[in-house]
Symmetry: C3
Subunit: 351 residues, 3 copies
Amino acid sequence: MAKISNKINQGNYFEDFSLNQKIVHPLPRTISEGDVSLYIALTGSRFALHSSDELAKDFGYEKRPLDDLLMFHLTFGKSVQDISLNAIANLGYAEVSFPNPVFIGDTVRLETTVIGLKENSNGKSGNVYVHSIGYNQKGQEILNLKRWVMVHKKNPQTVLGLNSVPSFEKTTPLPKELNIPTVKSVDKQLTGGEFVWGDYEVGERLNHIEGITVDDSDHTLATKLYQNNAKVHFNDHMMKQTPMNERLMYGGHVISMVRTISFNGLQNAQWIVAINSGAHANPTFAGDTIYAYSEIVEKIDTPRDDIGLLRIRTVGLKNITPQEVESPFEEDGKYKKCVVLDLDYTVAILK
Amino acid sequence: MAKISNKINQGNYFEDFSLNQKIVHPLPRTISEGDVSLYIALTGSRFALHSSDELAKDFGYEKRPLDDLLMFHLTFGKSVQDISLNAIANLGYAEVSFPNPVFIGDTVRLETTVIGLKENSNGKSGNVYVHSIGYNQKGQEILNLKRWVMVHKKNPQTVLGLNSVPSFEKTTPLPKELNIPTVKSVDKQLTGGEFVWGDYEVGERLNHIEGITVDDSDHTLATKLYQNNAKVHFNDHMMKQTPMNERLMYGGHVISMVRTISFNGLQNAQWIVAINSGAHANPTFAGDTIYAYSEIVEKIDTPRDDIGLLRIRTVGLKNITPQEVESPFEEDGKYKKCVVLDLDYTVAILK
Amino acid sequence: MAKISNKINQGNYFEDFSLNQKIVHPLPRTISEGDVSLYIALTGSRFALHSSDELAKDFGYEKRPLDDLLMFHLTFGKSVQDISLNAIANLGYAEVSFPNPVFIGDTVRLETTVIGLKENSNGKSGNVYVHSIGYNQKGQEILNLKRWVMVHKKNPQTVLGLNSVPSFEKTTPLPKELNIPTVKSVDKQLTGGEFVWGDYEVGERLNHIEGITVDDSDHTLATKLYQNNAKVHFNDHMMKQTPMNERLMYGGHVISMVRTISFNGLQNAQWIVAINSGAHANPTFAGDTIYAYSEIVEKIDTPRDDIGLLRIRTVGLKNITPQEVESPFEEDGKYKKCVVLDLDYTVAILK
């Protein structure tokens, strides 16, 4: 009889976390041209700044920077095996910011501090609140985020009495100065859209016309590319034994699809400055067609002549067009079954 | 109540085009190593010149040039949102040429002139004829093509009386000098095929033995990679409400699959010099297995010692082997249901 | 009537091989950043040495070397059209080694010598034994392997009386000196695992916890990326006429999936030094979920302070967890239907 090894990392349970604990996540990743091409192939992203070195020079960059969400996924994916391998649910994001641009050839890594721990009343699980910071190879911050997940307890009998919940800002505090070069001269025929900061109004709603169907290979390729190894996305055999009955799409891929769909109407909003909050209202599965609409929540001016900010709420839908959905909520205040994402974020857009 | 925005680009309708109109397409694209690898993964292409820098040097290049069809898709994809987002059908191609090679690191873009407009007698649609030219970052022409598409009218009542139809050459005029370096010394063991220009005969038919099945993820990944956003390829929810009932494969991906399949028998035909005409005879859907056969239509000599030209007709089939299909046509002259592509093109091949 | 060409390469049959025959395989391949990203997306590989240039420097490399299996597939794939296009079965591997590391930008090619030919008693087929060596653009050996395949005869009537069977070493002879730089200083938080050579025991069994479901697009993309054109992997129309009834997954992709799954428990085993033997016990199809367990067969010390060797047997399973499978064999000594791979290989691991 073989001796069964205890060298398998089973992931952390609620009891394994401690307040102020610091975690260095494994798998620093050198970002390549391949990652960028795959991101376009997997999402259909068309934001022009990230497609062309020549256009990036017009924008004031030396070469095309990485799409903020691609960088997010590649960096964030590393935290799964330490934070959320045994997660029951990703409960929320807050104060997500992108302090410095990332380029092909950069190597990104992630570190996390546990900032809150709250035992749930059922005794079976607890919420873990973390603050994660991503760095490039020069040690510069490239990602800063807080999130909280519900994690199983190893031993439901033990009562730990932990009840430390951090407070979060409703919107990510904006930096004093945007880390975006001065835009030199951009031909709006090349970005694909004529509308700029001054054209948008608070309360305006954009019903994006594109719908994109996602298949199993698409979302699993994306999630494997990010080296995110959460089992629910990959293991159909295991999922067949759960009420979901199939592989669940990585929520980050839903965010990327929705951002891609929002291109038509927001073509000049090339930068995500902050994600203020986000909810994965319902799960997404292979075969679902993703649609989206966006509402302009707030216009934030900057001292700059070239760039202004828009706070946007983009709602992701499945298998229904935006025209058919006036509000994401049912009358009882719960999300409608067709809503897969409710994202509150701030973009920079050409003036 | 939110104010519904009018900032969404709904695409151009027949009335939106005017004769001699010039369109600068958005999304210049820097071509990367990732695009090249994805093209191989998505098509299985095995033409050796595009696989190896070392072999490309034997061919007289500094490094491996891009596969002509990959360049075509990446450049052409940009025109969809302006020309064919509301297209009913892609009616044809003519005079397609590849004036200069493209390399990894180059940035390509596309401009179009409207060269013809013909209102259809039913009043509901019209044909738009365009001449598109692709450029690299140095302003050199890298693609030159004409095509025509049938586009919906916004208002079927309005009669515009447009009836301007350009004439096209039956075959693309050949350049005086091929833009292909002098071949240094190529080991035909490395290209995978022993046959050269002198070995082929007019009338010879090659029944290619490979068949490749295409799945939804394959063709949608390819089409998203090209940033071609034609809705029929991506939106299963929408297509379910049409007679097709599912996503339609991008015709360009069919051309690439057929070209890949033609490798076995035409291994030394590394360059596409021209596409003379092409018809997507029937639609292709996920699950179809593509086969192909090629007929040598014409042998065209050149003053060069290293390279000759072959004009080839390659017929793409679905779910039937070439041995079973003597002619692509039914007795009434219509394409058989199994024919998905009828391509007339000119290749350069080693002598 | 068209003249049917005889220029199609139908692949080699048993009679086409001769003892000591040398074959230069076509399609040298320049390895790109795109290949590396696709490999991660297609397999979910997380071995840290291959993910990060920065970490590779800590390991003593100038930049991240290629994953040994990715190099194997890209190099090996070239032999299919000459050796195994008409293969009935891949019977085995032996003495596989990886003499030199390969990097992005290198160009790999493959040459083969026929080292054995054995006619089967049924007269319909024969076994072909080959020794293949892969080279980089400098002519350095990067892959060395022996394998044998069962190939159809063109003419079952002809008796050739060939019965030359080479002998193979049970385990690949180890090089006097490992071609691995001296490890400088690696933070095991970054490799994702704390366990090193000294921690493992002979007889220890690791039940890897991850299961990964493979879809048709995944395995066909991988196999096309490697320019491996074996028809059984791609042609669903043809396979529907066989007892298998669907496309068969490339065995090499199964090896890669199993290696990926073995990461959790063997995180510091970054290098495959040898594959001693391997059996594809049962076929794998789209929809199968791959699991794996590993047994430490042998601990081999080296004179080095930084690296030791482990000989490992990893068993790949489909649709069943390792906990449920004590032995890969039935009572009659045959492989259980759930076993898809039985791999005996030697890894280098941090001390």
